[in-house]
Amino acid sequence: MDVELDAFSGRPNPKWTLSADKASRILKQIASLPETNDTLHIPDLGFRGFVLRSGGRSIRVFGGLVTIESAGVTKAHRDTAGILKDLTEDARKRGFEAVVGDSAKH
């Protein structure tokens, strides 16, 4: 499963591939997240979260929420599993500390 760090304007966003084990774990976590009616607010410029793509679904992890878009329908879930924190750590290890900053606190 590919991960896109959605943050840049001029440069292309960084992308990498999760290991099969990690992808499987995150998808299981996502499947158990509670749904919410909260609305995701994404800043225009700067860190806008992580976008995962799996089986035709586009999953955005940001701001305490995980939104899943599939066939034009989007559902929001609370990120009670700490997926943002997990992916942020990945980004830091890949040298994107300056990009994600303290994003896990959002």
Binding site: L40, D44, T67, V73
Partner: protein, 287 residues
Amino acid sequence: MSLTVTLNVFSGRPNPVWTVPEGAAAEFTDRMSSISTTSNLKPVGVMGALGYRGFSVRRNEESDAIHVHAGVIDPGHASPTLLATDREIEKWLLSTAGAHLTAAVKTHVEESLAGPVSHEALRGVPPPSRCPACNAVDAPVYNPAIWNTPAVQPHNNCYNYANNRITNTFAQPGRATGHMYTQLKTCTGVGAVEPAAVSDGLVASANFSGHLAARHGWYVALVLWPNVDYHWYRQDKVGCWSHKPGSTAARNVDNAGHTITDPKTANRGPYTVFCTYMITKASVHIK
């Protein structure tokens, strides 16, 4: 697929809910499709305190609601907001209620729909009178609908947008002319973005007040997220500025949702370094 329509009108009682059959539901889709003006701004919330507050439309139990009020149609965060020029879509939704509404409620909503559209629920809709003068004859018209489509939006960035050129290459300063930037630490100097843009044909400008005659281009502005990224704005015909952050939608507000009268003073998030205004024109080379 049928639609479930909720009329947001009551305070204490449950709101009226009814189902629109499949055939009529297609008309709702057609009516939405006919609205060509879009905005990336989202309504800040349901406007109005008591009485008519719009319709919520769901395609099925699990889908996001589409909110329709005062000419603003919000299909959800994944799609641009549609801005209607009249209240016809609301009048049509009201017409589908049939016997689900009492005469008194129907009359109240009809009276509400007699008023004009209002986009005040959106953050930062710019009053044109607040924009500075545009002194460039060739300045592009702000028309985000051209850019915010699935075929264009993901493949064109801020540099494409500032130069008003769709290349579908996520254009990079200097790449077309063999002098692509190699560092994002400084605005100028070896390997910086500004000289890369100059290589493409852009020209630095101290301000955006000088008159630019036809075929002499329009004003853009370069900013830096030091060591991370760069970003561009452009001045539109109306005088205010707009931009397209990466693969996201083109818009005319800053990170705080405010009209951009000058990118130097706008809320630019992490793009803290203002480099320069520049002049671009239709003949520049970008890739």
